[in-house]
């Protein structure tokens, strides 16, 4: 019985992580895989979504529940939540509405951060750009730590539990919510890849000069990719915060920029199935290492989590050298009517 529930808990936790990373990796795929933007500042919009949730969620809950208090929702975070949470628990519809509004806010905030990143994105060379975006992303943490009224400084804040109404099924529902958004983003990216917009982005990625010669506006398409991608990242940040119902300004580029990159490279750049596969392989590996950590602890004179990094570095290096196209190669999408035309030409 306990083994069974262990497995279920493990799976639910795994799926939540998988879902959040899938959203992020799809977003990276749109930015880099489609439009060629080397976004080494993915964390910017993810942390942005997470921190904005921390900053507004409690205030928003107070308004939606029609409550009044003299306490500050950030500095007196715990006392305020002790009043908000019980009320929210009994109102499932308000909870869901709160979550959706937060997702929208996160997407908008993420998109705005994407627009800020766009300044360098349209004028810099690939390697310079990657470093600039990385620097941008680091700045949001500095500000979140230094400016206490934002999310309470280094200790962070708790946010209202929007899944409390589901009682003992809380984590199942939370995971389901993440997976729904992940599925939507996946379908959207598939659709985008086949649309004229997505194909134009890929054309620009392959050859900027040729695309310009065809009258395509580089800046416009890069901006679109950046904004769409960052909006998804913002939502991922919101979901991860709501899932754990707390946020601290400790989002690290290793987990929220480098890991997504490695996953997408593992799966294969520029194709969504690859992103899906890469995400799955990585998250399962990661969770398994953490799961078996306890059984290995004590046998080795060091913490087993570090093997995670060693393995990760090794796998990435091996993939770069021996299978640079990733597990699944990008296949050009040819619309059906065009394919038929091509075939008829071949026959002639």
């Amino acid at each position: 019985m306990s083994v069974w529930s262990d497995i279920i808990l493990f799976t639910v936790d795994l799926l939540a992580l998988f879902g959040v990373y899938l959203i992020i990796n799809i977003s990276l795929n749109i930015q880099r895989g489609f439009a060629g933007i080397p976004n080494f500042g993915l964390m910017f919009a993810i942390a942005g979504g997470a921190y904005i949730t921390g900053a507004v969620a409690t205030r928003l809950a107070l308004v939606m529940l029609g409550m009044h208090t003299n306490l500050d929702p950030i500095f007196d975070n715990i006392p305020v939540l002790s009043k908000v949470d019980p009320l929210l628990q009994s109102q499932s519809l308000t909870s869901i509405a709160l979550m959706i509004i937060l997702l929208i806010i996160g997407a908008i905030f993420g998109a705005i951060l994407g627009l800020i990143q766009l300044g360098p994105a349209i004028r810099l060379r690939e390697d310079y750009l990657a470093i600039t975006l990385l620097a941008f992303a680091e700045m949001i943490n500095v500000i979140a730590v230094a400016y206490k009224p934002f999310i309470g400084g280094i200790t962070g804040v708790q946010v209202p539990d929007v899944f409390a109404w589901s009682g003992e099924y809380r984590f199942y529902i939370a995971t389901a919510a993440i997976l729904v958004v992940a599925a939507i983003s996946y379908v959207y990216a598939e659709f985008l890849g086949r649309s004229p917009l997505g194909r134009t982005m890929k054309a620009i990625r392959e050859n900027e000069v040729a695309a310009m010669a065809l009258g395509k506006n580089l800046v416009k398409y890069r901006a679109i990719a950046m904004v769409i991608g960052s909006a998804f990242c913002g939502m991922a940040g919101v979901l991860w915060t709501l899932y754990g119902d707390t946020v601290t300004p400790t989002y690290h580029r290793f987990y929220w920029t480098f890991l997504p990159w490695l996953m997408v490279l593992l799966g294969g750049l520029g194709n969504n199935k690859g992103a899906l596969l890469g995400t799955l392989v990585f998250t399962v590996l990661d969770k398994l290492i953490i799961y078996y950590k306890h059984s290995l602890a004590g046998m080795l004179p060091f913490d087993v989590v570090w093997l995670d990094q060693v393995l990760l570095g090794l796998i990435t290096a091996i993939i770069l050298i021996y299978r640079p196209q990733g597990l699944l190669e990008e296949k050009p999408y040819v619309p059906k009517e065009l394919e038929a035309k091509l075939k008829s030409i071949e026959k002639k």
Binding site: P38, G119, P120, R123, L124, R125, E126, D127, Y128, A130, I131, T132, L134, A135, F136, E138, M139, V142, I143, V145, A146, F254, F258, W261, L262, L265, P301, F302, D303, W306, L307, D308, Q309, V310, L311, L312, G313, L314, T316, A317, L320, I321, P324
Partner: protein, 304 residues
């Protein structure tokens, strides 16, 4: 002088020299291999643990300068031969090379953490908070680390200058920086030259790492924490200019230590928590507005 005491100035000089030492290698590698080297983080951390290990074994930590230089130089060679050469042979893009250095850095981050854990359990040493300043010497009340870091910087820059301008190998290395295809046609073994540049760059990063615990408390995370700043130093000075890094290093070092301490006394201590914005902001602005770095501004004026 504006209420800035001698310790602040000493700190500013030390930090500037250390930052410069970290930045030099990044610039050199960018010039030779055209890759922004993320593995500089673990290079520096390796230097830290070189001097820490030696001090555990009873040597003075400053012996770590030599050990750090050699050890990290070899680490850089390992990166070059195990990842970068195979990628270069495949004609991978600069971006993929960059991811390659990142992969190596993550790998070594794990290894260094394992090593620190090992020291902690086996030697019962505080390997996650390495601070060796108590073992430092001092001259007229000024800590030795200032003299050592400035000295190592002068030696590194001078050595690099002599190598690049007075020796055949150095001129060949300069030739490789400018045009690898042409260097090949005149019989230069480009791969050997790149190897040399990786050894030197890694070695200098190791020196800076070996000196670091004499000035601040370090941990296996120190390289990761500082890597953005290292890039900033190198970019501010100009990635196209081998000697640009010290310029960036001193600007950044003084801004961080001296300027911040002055601002804290004038505006209020709350401003200190915003200090990390300085290098990041400076780097972003430099890249956006003068992507070739400050060192190029001077040249433009000379030509015009």
């Amino acid at each position: 002088m504006f209420g800035i005491g001698l310790p602040t100035i000493v700190g500013g000089l030390t930090w500037s020299a250390l930052l410069s030492l970290m930045g030099i290698g990044i610039t050199l590698l960018y010039r030779t291999t055209k890759v922004p080297n993320f593995a500089h983080a673990s290079f520096v951390t390796t230097g830290v643990y070189a001097s820490f290990t030696l001090s555990l074994l009873g040597f003075h930590p400053y012996w770590g300068i030599l050990a750090g230089f050699i050890l990290t130089g070899l680490e850089a060679l390992l990166l070059f031969y195990s990842i970068l050469e195979p990628l270069r042979r495949r004609k991978s893009s600069v971006f993929i090379l960059m991811i390659g250095t990142l992969a190596f850095d993550i790998l070594f981050y794990g290894i260094l953490n394992i090593y620190a854990d090992y020291l902690q359990t086996v030697f019962k040493a505080s390997a996650r908070a390495v601070y060796l300043a108590p073992k430092d010497f001092s001259i007229m009340g000024i800590p030795g680390i200032m003299f050592m870091s400035l000295g190592m910087l002068v030696i590194s820059v001078l050595g690099l200058y002599l190598l690049l301008n007075r020796t055949t190998v150095g001129i060949a290395l300069k030739a490789c920086m400018e045009n690898t295809a042409l260097a090949q046609t005149i019989g230069v073994n480009v791969s050997l030259m790149l190897m040399l540049s990786w050894f030197i760059a890694g070695g200098i990063a190791g020196i800076s790492g070996a000196l670091l615990p004499m000035y601040i408390e370090t941990s296996p995370d120190i390289g990761v924490l500082l890597v953005a700043e290292m890039f900033c130093v190198s970019i501010l000075g100009g990635l196209e200019q081998v000697y640009g890094a010290p310029l960036g290093g001193f600007l950044m070092g003084f801004a961080e230590v001296v300027l911040t301490s002055w601002l804290a006394s004038e505006v209020g201590p709350w401003i200190i928590s915003y200090t990390p914005l300085l290098p990041l902001g400076a780097m972003a602005l430099t890249l956006i507005f003068i992507p070739k770095g400050l060192a190029t501004i001077k040249i433009r004026r000379r030509e015009g």
